[in-house]
């Protein structure tokens, strides 16, 4: 019998392999360590693994002048994937800092101390975090509908468990189950769409789909494309497929929310751009208009719903729905400027998402209860560093300096304008205007509540939390740095999208 091993470019898989290897290592070794040593051990190695994976992706980014395919043409080795991997690993790295002390004194829904065995699940948390990042790193490389679906489920299943990892809190379990049901519903829709595209074109590989789409059965191809778009919209939490987002963001442990808000968006949006431009260039009329529609709905719905929220995590969840709208704008524009705008936007958006949820986590740990606009009162005066940083993030989400999102939003609007879609720019500006109200509301809650309305931290002075403070500081540096170093960053993003061919 003739048995040959396929020719595999292992270097292209290096980031994924490092992440999964570290995940297995942390899980297997962590079990044998004494309880006291587990937290330090697993967090250290998780951070190291994420750093190594990001460095590997960075080295590949420097080397790969041209894009290539490997694993029987099912995954890409190109700069777009490597840039997305760096971003996802960065978000994971920041999440390690947020989660380090999260479970030092876990609380139940009613504010009482959780049972002691809660302290044990720290190893699982970090192993799953690594697995989720590994899944995303694989997902953004996909060049095949099968790799796309498997990568999607790989990181989604890890995220379902991470959401529900505080098993002593019913709200965490509820969020996990809701995420599982709605997330799997979205994945099933995406899979059904993939099956139809396969039936229409007889191919699973993206470029083969594009080649065969000329004489494909139109009905199957269009239905398949629409279903794939809907499935991806579920993952990036764009309205009207966002209904899971507020519940899951609110119920999940805050460190996991921070990670999900940043990393899932990066992975889902980068892959959406890749699959649409690579596999469906002939149907660009359909998907550019479809995405523009989803973007409008997200902008309107996300911003309006955020106005009435009182829970800060829910408020930020709706803000992330509205940002899905802003992020879809450059993809819908379908031009090279849009590709650059998307990646540039994602850098500061990811940093600000993790940073703002980290600050919510800081307040949560002081009060031992969910953070609302009400009990945020006085936080800005009590913790000046967090207060000022949160204000920078909130101004940044609006699109004001000193955050890089200032330019990111400008580029996103410019991409839509270049396409000739002034109406989309107007919707975007209107969304921004609405959003000023609730973002400033957070700042007002921190600084302008009268002293008697303040809630005292439980148990005296707040605990020292160096990993969390470092994370917030790093997020601030990336947020401001992406504005300061905007020029070189945009050049990098131009290289990153060079392997894609845009329809406009």
């Amino acid at each position: 019998m003739d048995f040959r091993t396929p020719d595999i470019d292992w270097a292209a898989l290096a980031p994924v392999l490092v992440l999964m290897g570290t995940s297995a290592f942390v899980l297997l070794v962590g079990v044998f360590l004494p309880r006291g040593a587990r937290r330090g051990f697993s967090a250290t190695f998780t951070a190291l693994g994420l750093l190594c994976a990001a460095i590997a992706a960075g080295i590949l980014f420097a080397q790969d002048e041209t894009a290539s395919l490997t694993l029987r043409e099912s995954i890409w080795r190109d700069r777009l994937a490597e840039m997305a991997q760096i971003l996802v690993c960065g978000a994971g790295l920041l999440a390690v800092g947020v989660s380090y002390w999260e479970r030092r004194a876990p609380v139940d829904d009613d504010g009482t101390e959780a049972p002691a065995d809660e302290h044990e699940r720290i190893v699982e948390l970090y192993a799953l975090l690594l697995a989720a990042v590994g899944g995303m790193a694989f997902f953004v490389q996909a060049d095949n509908l099968m790799a796309l679906f498997l990568g999607l489920e790989w990181f989604s299943i890890a995220l379902y468990i991470l959401t529900a990892i505080s098993v002593h809190r019913l709200s965490s379990l509820e969020a996990g189950l809701k995420y599982l049901i709605v997330g799997s519903f979205g994945s099933a829709i995406l899979l059904f769409g993939s099956a139809f595209v396969y039936g229409a074109t007889g191919a699973l590989e993206f470029r083969a789909i594009a080649e065969a789409s000329g004489d494909a059965e139109r009905l199957f191809l269009v239905a398949g494309l629409a279903l794939i778009l809907v499935g991806l919209a579920f993952k990036m939490s764009a309205a009207p497929f966002h209904m899971w987002t507020p519940d899951v963001y609110q119920g999940a442990p805050t460190s996991i929310t921070a990670f999900m808000a940043a990393a899932t968006k990066v992975a889902a949006l980068v892959l959406t751009m890749r699959v649409l431009t690579t596999a469906f260039p002939g149907e660009e009329e359909l998907w550019t208009w479809g995405l523009a529609g989803i973007a409008c709905v997200s902008l309107v719905w996300g911003n309006l719903a955020a106005l009435v929220q009182t829970d800060v995590k829910r408020l930020l969840a709706y803000s992330s729905v509205s940002h899905a709208g802003f992020l879809l704008m450059p993809i819908a524009a379908g031009n090279e400027l849009g590709g650059r705008a998307l990646l540039f936007y994602l850098v500061s958006y990811a940093a600000m998402s993790v940073g703002s949820f980290a600050i919510v986590a800081a307040r949560e740990r002081e009060l031992r209860r969910p953070v609302t606009l009400e009990n945020l009162g006085g936080f800005g005066w009590e913790r000046p560093f967090y207060g000022v940083t949160m204000a920078v993030f909130m101004f940044g989400f609006i699109g004001l300096p000193p955050a890089g999102l200032f330019l990111g939003k400008f580029y996103a609007f410019a991409a839509a304008y270049e396409r000739g879609w002034t109406w989309l720019v107007i919707v975007g500006v209107l969304g921004t205007v609405i959003s000023i109200y609730y973002y400033l509301g957070v700042i007002a809650a921190m600084y302008m509540r009268p002293a008697e309305a303040r809630v005292a931290p439980a148990g005296g002075s707040p605990p020292r939390d160096l990993p969390l403070a470092t994370t917030v500081f790093l997020a601030l540096i990336v947020t401001v740095g992406s504005l300061v170093a905007a020029d070189p960053l945009i050049d990098l993003m131009r290289d990153a999208v060079a392997s894609l061919t845009f329809p406009h």
Binding site: F149, L170, E174, L177, I181, I189
Partner: protein, 102 residues
């Protein structure tokens, strides 16, 4: 080619997908919802296999095998969550799960 044509398979799988998504949207027990999700995934499998035979490649069948693995892991996580929730002795009814709302 033996057996019924591609159209019959497609009709069955679209009907299955419809039943599955209806089940997810209207049924209340999380167990039935998980079951409906499996139905949706398996209807996609049927489509893949039918198309695979229709276009004459084996890609679709390999895809279907991979989907079965994914479906199994999803069911494991889902059932695990339901067991963990049942320790709180709450009614297993997705309409009553409404601690998280705003």
């Amino acid at each position: 080619m033996l057996g019924p044509g591609i159209a019959s398979y497609l009709i069955v799988s679209v009907v299955l997908f419809g039943i599955g998504s209806l089940g997810v949207l209207v049924r209340r027990s999380p167990l039935i919802v998980l079951l409906s999700l499996e139905l949706m995934l398996n209807s996609a499998n049927l489509t893949l296999i039918a198309f695979s035979r229709h276009v004459g490649g084996e890609d679709g069948q390999i895809f279907a095998l991979a989907v079965m693995v994914v479906a199994a892991s999803e069911a494991v996580v889902g059932l695990g969550l339901i067991v963990a929730m049942s320790r709180f002795t709450v009614d297993l009814d997705v309409d009553k799960l409404r601690m998280l709302r705003g």
